[in-house]
């Protein structure tokens, strides 16, 4: 299958706008679940406002949140897909720029030292583009995630040691959720990365935070910790917007990798309640959009 560069640019443009406007069904279901269980009066009101906002965004064809985030594109290349890799990266960048200029969107991206905003949502190394491979025949998938800063500013890494054990993992996650409080726009998806190197550990946490609600860690031990921590964080009382209540997180997600005999790295990255993502899938039949 040959993928046209122009089609990728169009998809990259469309994905950014779609992700900012339409919340995935699994996140909407997550709201319904949390609202049904909430016991705090203020928290019920906050959750209801969030649900109203989702409907207003769809009715008025507007962005869910003003934060257009740092644009992230995750590309998964299946088998027998023919494309020019360099051109693909250029096309994604140019689609991202066009979405920003043509919609228009607020460019939330600046140089880290000069703080200059190019008003393109692009800059050095941004949009973030990750490329991976899968065994799906003749399929190219592009996932777009606008990662908001309220949640991203609460990212944590701890290089624990083996003697600290699994207890250190659980305590660290709980304390990160407490430290983040209302700053991350809870209810959140708490992404936990375990193992790997320090950089891989943080990447795993981001992957976990942006995973579909209802999905589980493919490792049995990881899935077990996910379940325990998902229950535990909602007994802390942080609540939606940090104003108290039960609904602190939709879920805790864990992703893990093998690590060194001397290491026990733990990373936490959170996704806010506007857990936005969109995907475009290219097959020989054409391109289709989803979550």
């Amino acid at each position: 299958m040959k993928v046209d560069t122009k089609a990728i640019e169009e998809a990259a443009r469309e994905l950014y706008i779609r992700a900012l406007k339409i919340l995935p069904a699994d996140v909407k279901d997550g709201f319904a679940r949390l609202s049904a269980r909430e016991t705090d009066r203020t928290a019920k009101g906050v959750l209801a406002t969030m649900v109203t906002n989702i409907a207003v965004a769809e009715d008025t064809d507007n962005l869910l949140c003003q934060d257009t985030g740092i644009p992230i594109y995750n590309v998964t290349v299946g088998r027998n897909v023919d494309f020019d890799g360099y051109a693909l990266k250029q096309a994604i960048r140019s689609g991202c720029e066009r979405a920003t200029r043509e919609h228009p969107l607020r460019s939330s991206v600046v140089h880290p030292l000069t703080r200059v905003n190019e008003h393109t949502s692009c800059g050095i190394e941004v949009p973030v583009i990750h490329i991976d491979f899968s065994d799906l025949p003749r399929t190219l998938r592009i996932e777009m995630i606008p990662k908001g800063s309220g949640s991203e500013n609460n990212s944590f890494l701890k290089m624990a040691v083996p003697a600290d054990g699994v207890d250190a993992i659980k305590a660290f996650v709980i304390d990160c959720v407490i430290a983040a409080g209302g700053k991350t726009c809870p209810p959140t998806i708490v992404g936990v990365g375990l193992g790997g190197t320090s950089d891989l550990c943080i990447a795993l946490a981001k992957r976990a935070a942006t995973r579909e609600l209802g999905s589980r860690c493919s490792d049995a031990r990881g899935a077990q910790i996910e379940e325990q921590l998902s229950g535990a964080v909602n007994r802390l009382g942080v609540g939606p917007q940090g104003l108290g209540g039960d609904a602190t997180a939709f879920a805790v997600h864990v992703e893990l990798a093998a690590t060194h005999i001397t290491m026990n790295p733990i990373a936490v990255n959170m996704q806010c309640h506007s857990a936005r993502r969109a995907t475009a899938t290219f097959t020989p039949e054409g391109v289709s959009f989803g979550f």
Binding site: T42, V46, T49, M50, T52, N53, V56, A57, T60, N62, L63, L64, C65, Q66, D67, T68, H103, P104, L105, R106, S107, S108, R115, N117, H119, G148, S149, G150, N153, D167, K170, A171, I174, I178, G181, G182, K183, T184, C185, Q228, L229, A232, R235, L236, G237, V238, G239, P240, Q241, G242, L243, G244, C272, H273, S274
Partner: protein, 204 residues
Amino acid sequence: MAHYVMKMPVDEGQVRRLRVNDTVTLQRTLFGIRDATLIALFDRGRTTRFDLRGHAVIHTAPNVKKVDPSPQHPAGYAPVCIGTTTSDRMERFTRPLLQRNGVRIVVGKGGLRADSMAAFREFGGVYLAIVGGTAALETTWIERIEDVDMDDLNPESLWEFRIRDFGPLLVAMDSHGASLYDVVRHDVEARREKVLADLGLKPR
């Protein structure tokens, strides 16, 4: 718990009347500020031509569209999506906003800390919590962008919004030393040990 409708600007007495858990709907005028605006004003000595005395400011940086100036868009900007950002990053600017510029109300999400609390008490100010991440809804409360200053910082300019029925917003920090965030923080701290014990951890 009372509900107040406040036509901006307001005086000290009106703000001192507010207590945590009251709700407020703002009318008429709201100013938008952000990290870069505050850094420029208080770290770099820039000034604004806007008179903020008695006014409300919101922690924001909107999505806007540049248009030809008209009665509907006097500043040459149409609102696209206007929401609220995390207040905590701008904690150290609450005091000078109140003391030097006479601001009475800060609207934001996630709460502010001890020095803001002290400034609210000292000068007569409050923090109103809006539901973060609900910008599509918030945008419907904004009639137009009336004016803009320090626009070289765009989107982190100093914005003047014309608002209508902006709220209800929750009084989360008042001028009498009460903060809902402190209440939650103490409650969470008290629950932490049991949550860890339920996860099988021994107290350390």
